[in-house]
């Protein structure tokens, strides 16, 4: 499913990112890689998402969250 449907507090695994090469590599530098475990801290309710990957917190806009497949 898309990250946009993930509930706050849920733990998900990143499958793929549907984005251009450059954006994908930029996300990888932030630790957003296929296979990585993350926890949804806030699903924003029409605001941006906050996810926890290990010890970093990353903000993802809703448009971005839509492009991220998780399970």
């Amino acid at each position: 499913m898309s990250l946009i449907f993930a509930k706050p507090g849920s733990k998900v695994r990143l499958l793929t990112v549907r984005a251009g090469r450059e954006l994908k590599a930029r996300l990888a530098a932030l630790g957003l890689m296929p296979g990585v475990q993350m926890e949804v801290l806030s699903s924003g309710q029409c605001g941006p998402f906050v996810v926890a990957i290990n010890r970093s917190r990353v903000v993802l806009g809703r448009g971005m969250a839509q492009k991220i497949e998780v399970e």
Binding site: R26, S56, R57
Partner: protein, 688 residues
């Protein structure tokens, strides 16, 4: 082995890894800020001496990787590759080790003399992380120094290590990273081709270069001029995509993380699971959907309240000092005598520059507050909170960070738009940044507000002015985004750094830098313009015949009206009358185009030149006698919105790449200022 007496060290690291605290710790106050050639990214340098060796430290911009996505990354990478510093020190936030090691691994690939600093090791230990630094260091072949940057712990050891690495006392055996059999094979093949190409071999590490080529790095690709190599890269990339089903750079990144988690598993012990931290708890309140914006507005109000209340007494002292100085200098001439020099010193310089320096305490307090908000990590939250609103206008939260920097000064703010990926977002943000009221405009408000409004209204008034700026910026951005800069909004990704207690030293250094710039500006640009404005307000002198029969007050009026400034002001009057301004304000507005503070200086000059009595009232008293609170408010409004200063226009031109946008900004904001002030003044008159 030759012993070097001069060493260059490059400091690199992820944003928010505490790089600045290490830099401050190493170099103390011996810093200087410049620019990298060709680009406007700030280049911070500092020097320290250790055991007879002079060490020059260059603080590179914070980056997450060595790929060339943003200008900061390009600058950092180019410095390391082209300038070949003797040692590269990578500052790592030990509490977020794996992500931070990603950059370290890329530096290892590059094969530069490397030292890793595990900064904030105290935070990491408190989180229940224990590092076997010796084993980790052996596994990767790079020395590791644990530090606590803001307490200065570990810095001596770091200095020792930097020198011994630079003197190559121990030969570095940096571990090689492997990306799996298939990719390693492709890299080796490309490397063979590169090795035959003499131009490339000389300058770059060939394995690193091959890896970058496979990663589709645009800047490295530009350096390759051989079709043979280019087609080999394409073939290799296609091979990898068919095998793995993803682009080579993703597979390579995956192997880097694999390498990192491999070494960490052996050497890092975690006694506690990664739990929700204190930062998360603070965030659940501060970035709350309902509370977020009110908290932001409240904090802003607090900043202005403190700027006024704490600034009042020191301002009084400085004002008293200048008043005394003015009387003292005037007293050097016999009473009632006319002297050009006396007028220049008392009216032009003390009245002009002095009037600007009076507001130094406010400026220091404002920058102190901004530094605290920035260092604590709150600014990133503001971007997050504002994202929902910004999204509605077609930008995203990240655009709000350059806008916040605009509270300090529009110039660094416009430069900061470089972090925005889309050109449309960048231009939109750049155009509206001057609406965020900058530090140079603060003296105008600080002069006017206490002159016209009761004590209880001081802070709210200032807050309202800043809010009007933000609202106008957002509205203008919306208009621009739906007309000139139409298009889809770009994806928003940003790291949320953990909250940190700002250090006294770090905050004071920030504040001092800005305060010093303000004084320097007062002593150079504003001094120069004040002298010009004084001359324009004093000359040409009116013939005595025309003064015959006039009282002292009327004579002063006639004198100023006869001067160049007076004539220009009078010529402007028909245009500015409808917004409530007289010709005196008109002259000050022209001066403020050079630098906003000049408005205050010129108001001082125009109200003191040719004054009859020596015992003068303060400028605020004079203003209160001459104008109504409505006009006062309109002055602030006009200064807030109107034409950005010359320096801002120059930066907009450079950053947008054309005069077109700079002039558009100038004309657009001036028109907007006129319109808004006209509406407020004309409606206001009905009520007052």
């Amino acid at each position: 082995m030759t012993k070097k007496t001069k060493i260059t060290v490059a400091l690199t690291g992820n944003p928010n890894s505490g790089k600045t605290s290490i830099f401050n710790g190493l170099t103390g106050a011996r810093q200087h800020v410049g620019n990298y050639p060709g680009v406007t990214v700030e280049k911070k340098e500092g020097v320290f001496k250790h055991c007879g060796t002079e060490i020059n430290v260059v603080d590179l911009p914070g980056t997450y990787s060595l790929t060339a996505f943003s200008i900061e990354e390009v600058v950092a990478r180019n410095f390391i590759i082209e300038e070949k510093p003797d040692v590269v020190v990578d500052i790592i936030d030990a509490s977020n080790l794996e992500r931070n090691l990603y950059l370290a691994v890329q530096l290892m690939e590059l094969g530069v003399p490397l030292v890793l600093v595990f900064n904030m090791s105290d935070v990491a230990n408190a989180m229940g992380l224990e590092f076997d630094i010796k084993t980790l260091s052996e596994r990767i072949g790079v020395p590791i120094i644990p530090t606590v940057g803001h307490k200065g712990r570990g810095l001596e050891e770091l200095k020792e290590t930097i020198i011994s690495v630079a003197q190559s006392k121990f030969k570095q055996k940096i571990a090689e990273i492997h990306y799996g059999r298939e990719i390693d094979k492709e890299i080796a093949e490309i490397e063979d081709l590169i090795k035959n190409n003499d131009d490339l071999v000389e300058k770059y590490n060939t394995r690193w270069m091959s890896t970058k080529l496979l990663e589709n790095d645009k800047i490295v690709l530009e350096k390759v001029n051989s079709d043979e190599i280019i087609s080999a890269i394409k073939k290799a990339a296609n091979n990898i995509e068919t095998i793995f089903g993803d682009h080579p750079e993703i597979i390579i990144a995956d192997h880097r993380y694999g390498f990192i988690s491999g070494v960490c598993q052996e050497t890092v012990k975690s006694t506690a699971e990664a739990r929700h931290t204190m930062s998360d708890k603070i965030d659940s309140v501060v970035t709350n959907r309902l509370l977020g914006i009110p908290i932001f507005l409240l904090l802003m109000y607090l900043v202005f309240y403190l700027t006024f209340t704490l600034g009042e007494s020191p301002m009084g002292w400085i004002e008293g000092g200048f008043a005394w100085l003015g009387d003292f200098v005037a007293g050097l001439w016999p009473g009632g005598s006319e002297s050009v020099l006396k007028s220049l010193l008392v009216d032009g310089i003390i009245g002009g520059v002095g009037g600007v320096i009076i507001f130094l305490p406010n400026i220091l307090l404002l920058f102190l507050a901004i530094a605290i908000l920035e260092d604590s990590g709150y600014m990133a939250r503001v971007a997050f909170i504002m994202d929902r609103l910004m999204h509605k206008i077609g930008l995203h939260g990240k655009s709000f960070i350059p806008m916040l920097i605009g509270f300090g000064c529009s110039i660094p703010a416009i430069m900061a738009t470089r972090t925005l990926e889309s050109q449309r977002d960048r231009l939109t943000t750049m155009m509206v940044i001057p609406l965020m009221s900058c530090g140079a405009r603060l003296p105008i408000y600080a002069l006017i507000i206490p002159a016209f409004f009761p004590q209880a209204w001081h802070a709210p008034m200032l807050w309202i002015i800043y809010l009007i700026g933000i609202i106008l910026a957002i509205v203008s951005a919306k208009i621009l985004r739906s007309t000139l800069f139409r298009g889809e909004s770009t994806p928003f990704v940003m790291e949320l750094p953990p909250y940190r207690l700002p250090t006294t030293r770090g905050v004071l250094i920030h504040m001092w830098e800005r305060g010093f710039l303000y004084l320097k500006k007062a002593g150079t640009i504003i001094l120069g313009i004040s002298i010009i404005m004084w001359a324009m307000t004093s000359y040409p002198k009116i013939p005595d015949a025309k003064l015959a029969g006039l009282g002292p007050e009327d004579a002063q009026k006639a004198e100023i009206s006869y001067s160049i400034a007076g004539r220009i002001g009078h010529a402007l009057e028909p245009i500015i009358r409808p917004i409530g301004f007289d010709w005196k304000i008109g002259t000050a507005l022209i001066g403020s185009f050079a630098a906003k503070e000049v408005f205050v200086a010129q108001m001082g000059i125009v109200h003191s030149v040719g004054e009859a009595d020596e015992e003068s009232d303060s400028l605020r008293e004079k203003l209160a006698m001459n104008y109504s609170p409505l006009i006062a408010f309109c002055i602030m409004l006009f200064c807030l919105v109107s034409a950005p200063c010359m320096a801002t226009i120059a930066v907009t031109k450079r950053e947008s790449g054309s005069w077109k946008w700079a002039l558009f900004q100038l004309a657009g904001l001036t028109a907007l200022a006129y319109l808004v002030t006209l509406v407020v003044y004309q409606t206001g008159q009905f009520f007052i």
